[in-house]
């Protein structure tokens, strides 16, 4: 009880400190607006918004303001994706793909205003559910993570990369794993963390410090989007918005179990390393369809379907921050960009993180969700107007932002070369349907994996038994092995046969 009261008073203090600072509101309003704009424009993503702002603010702005801007943009962008989903049948972000299933039919039926009002409410509630989960579970996990040593960290990092590769692949799972391995390989460049042995530097002194996170993020997420987005495409025919955008409280009351379930699913999926909001949206939509009494209406303009995906994708944000803050493992691609922001501000998320920062993050999330809710209700018309602007107007500006951001953080031209190189490679990987998120997760977690894996062996004197002699390590190892075996045809067939015998 004392612990809960301490946390609540800590949260209250952090919240109050932000509320009484007028600068907070400037950052909040601008960043949420930018986020919704990025989300609303097909071709610009939440990851891109957070990545670009990471480069833009660098480490010259107080961390609080930097976090307000990044989290505000994150929350705004995930919500903003629902605008084109509902009005154009084109998801603004991958996170809103499931929203289009029911949002567009509703708009076609003349209930666009109601649909937007409901997505605004659902996104707001979803963000709050995720934030509450963050506030509750982060402390539990922090306590547990005190017992996590090098073997567990190594296996956890590997699990994050494998899981991200498994779940983010559009085509073959193996491609996700390859992307993760390419990211891990990129993380090997530079001086190794234990012996300072130069690896793959080819005599280039810039490479001694390894691949910097921000240029890699910019290259991987921004450059392919720019190349891909520079196509002549009609904006599409906007469905006429009928009805006022108001929170539909009756629907919220009626579908409260759906909202709660979707919030829990979204938070849970978010807490899985490197998975993200798009998976959360689809998983929640799928579960909703299978358990709902109105399952047949899904895809034909069901309010429940709309609530399922929109609540989950915003709840995923809070979930994605849990592994990020507790273990330093990002729960989603935008969270990977956030990790980059933490790093350039010399904050290492993980078991040793300052609890004050966690409380501030929670307070910012609450403020950002309220700002998003108010903006969604009162400034929706502006975003609908923005939807009419072609992408080719925005993307060149994004390129300039990306360039200046990459340069500012690293302070060198080499970072721009790195950004461009990674960008072209990422574009080609996109072309071959390799997912990019596992690559980025691999780059971010590669150093951690390398260091902890070797430290484990060093402590055990080269005895690999260290990876299953500890209970948590054994569980994590089993998870890794199970994940790999689940994709091997032979074991899949065996499992199918066993299943067949069972029934």
């Amino acid at each position: 009880m004392d612990f809960i009261l301490t946390q609540l008073s800590g949260f209250g203090g952090a919240f109050w400190a932000l509320v009484i600072d007028p600068v907070t509101y400037i950052y909040l309003i601008v960043s949420v607006f930018l986020g919704i704009t990025f989300g609303a424009l097909p071709g610009l993503t939440a990851t891109l918004a957070v990545t670009i702002l990471t480069g833009f603010f660098g480490n010259k702005v107080p961390l609080d303001y930097s976090l307000i801007a990044l989290l505000g943009a994150y929350v705004g962008a995930i919500y903003g994706g629902s605008y084109p989903s509902i009005l154009l049948n084109i998801p603004g972000t991958a996170a809103s793909a499931a929203t289009a299933m029911d949002g567009y039919p509703l708009a076609k039926a003349g209930r666009g205003g109601e649909a937007l009002g409901l997505t605004t409410t659902a996104s707001f509630i979803g963000t709050l559910i995720g934030t509450i989960a963050l506030l509750v579970f982060v402390w539990v996990l922090l306590l547990l993570s005190q017992n996590i040593a090098s073997p567990e960290k190594a296996l956890l990092a590997l699990f994050g990369i494998l899981l991200s590769g498994t779940l983010m692949s559009e085509d073959l799972v193996i491609k996700g794993w390859i992307a993760g391995l390419v990211g891990l390989a990129m993380a090997m460049v530079g001086l190794d963390p234990l012996l300072s042995e130069p690896r793959y530097t080819f005599g280039w002194s810039y490479m001694l410090s390894g691949f910097q996170v921000v240029p890699v993020l910019m290259g991987a997420f921004a450059v392919p989007q720019i190349i891909e987005g520079m196509r002549h495409m009609d904006v599409g025919t906007l469905t006429e918005l009928k009805g006022r955008i108001l929170p539909n409280l009756r629907a919220v009351r009626r579908y409260l179990p759906t909202i709660t379930r979707s919030g829990v699913i979204g938070t849970g999926v978010g807490a899985l390393p490197g998975v993200g909001e798009d998976v959360a949206g689809w998983v929640s939509y799928g579960v909703g369809k299978s358990v709902s009494r109105e399952g047949r209406k899904f895809g034909k303009g069901s309010l429940e379907g709309l609530l399922s995906s929109e609540t989950a994708n915003n709840a995923c944000i809070g979930g994605a921050l849990i592994p990020l803050l507790v273990l330093g493992i990002p729960g989603s691609p935008p969270a990977a960009a956030l990790l980059g922001a933490f790093r350039i501000n010399n904050i290492i998320p993980g078991p040793t993180i300052d609890p004050e920062i966690i409380l501030r993050v929670v307070a910012i999330m609450v403020l950002a969700s309220f700002t998003m809710f108010v903006m969604g209700l009162f400034t929706a018309k502006i975003f609908i107007k923005i939807l009419r602007i072609p992408r080719v107007v925005f993307l060149p500006i994004v390129m300039v932002l990306t360039t200046i951001g990459s340069f500012s953080v690293g302070g060198g031209i080499n970072d721009l070369y790195l950004m461009l190189g990674v960008g072209f490679v990422a574009y080609l990987m996109n072309l071959l349907k390799f997912p990019i998120a596992p690559l980025v997760i691999g780059v971010i977690l590669g150093g951690l994996f390398d260091e902890t894996f070797r430290r484990s062996l060093l402590i055990s004197g080269g005895d690999v038994f260290v990876f299953w002699s500890r209970p948590v390590a054994a569980v994590l190892l089993a998870l890794n092995v199970a994940l790999i075996l689940s994709q091997v045809p032979l074991t899949k067939r065996l499992f199918a046969r066993l299943k067949g015998k069972a029934f």
Binding site: A185, T403, F407, L420
Partner: protein
């Protein structure tokens, strides 16, 4: 590995498998190359400058060795999936790998623009000028999807970038201003051309305004608002802005 593979598939999947064939080969070559490079890192306690190295398990080579071996094995699996799905048969024909001339032109011209902007212009030319040129070129070139416009846009950026690279390759010459003038001239010419083509096109009419305002606002916000480092502070336009900010404007509110 499991996958939604290699049964008879749609044309898109067949094209993808043909591309996978080449992708797997490239990955195999790369992983073999890096495995060879890994052999340069001491593994079994080599002597370095008279100091004996570490045991195998603490070697800096152990993790990369695992990564590139795994990458090689997965590349082999991908290659086998591609071959079983008929990717190898299709891989040698342009149609097989889904070659699309218009798409190739689009990618190559964007590639040229981004390369010359990042590698040639940003380090050497005033950031406002080269970003203005980039915004003008990209918006004009790709707004209607016309190939001639794409080529013209990439030619404009390529010309300026190539001049900057050739005339001032070493870092000691990056402060020169002749490449700034060339870039400004090409930007002005391209802007005039854009305005000539802009009849009845609101987007093209807005290009000159966006191309000037966006980089000016961004670079000023970064340099003076957030106190961040910006590229090429000695550029023709930005050096003047910076001078007047510190000498003319700042004293107004400082005093």
């Amino acid at each position: 590995m499991s996958q939604k593979t290699p049964e008879p598939q749609s044309d898109d999947i067949a094209v993808l498998r043909a591309r996978d064939f080449w992708g797997a080969i490239v990955l195999m070559v790369l992983s073999l190359f890096f495995l060879w490079r890994t052999s340069f890192i001491p593994l079994f306690g080599d002597n370095r400058a008279g100091v004996s190295g570490t045991s195998w398990y603490n070697s800096a080579a152990i993790v990369p060795l695992g990564i590139f071996t795994a990458l090689f094995i997965l590349s082999l699996v991908l290659l086998s999936i591609a071959i079983r799905a008929g990717g190898a048969k299709r891989a040698l024909s342009p149609i097989g790998i889904g070659w699309d001339r218009a798409e190739a032109v689009r990618f190559i011209t964007i590639g040229v623009i981004l390369f010359f902007y990042t590698a040639g212009l940003v380090p050497r030319v005033d950031f406002i000028a080269c970003s203005g040129l980039l915004i003008t070129a990209l918006t004009f070139g790709y707004h209607k999807g016309r190939i001639t416009r794409m080529i013209l846009a990439s030619g404009a950026v390529g010309l300026c970038g190539a001049y900057a690279l050739v005339a001032h390759l070493p870092q000691s010459e990056w402060g020169a201003h002749d490449d700034d003038i060339v870039t400004l001239a090409v930007w002005a010419a391209l802007t005039l051309w854009v305005l000539l083509c802009a009849r009845g096109d609101g987007v093209l009419k807005a290009v000159p305004v966006i191309a000037v305002l966006a980089p000016v606002i961004l670079v000023c916000a970064m340099a003076f608002g957030f106190r961040q480092n910006v590229p090429n502070r000695g550029g023709l336009i930005f050096s003047q802005i910076e001078y007047h900010y510190y000498v003319t404007l700042r004293p107004l509110w400082r005093s």
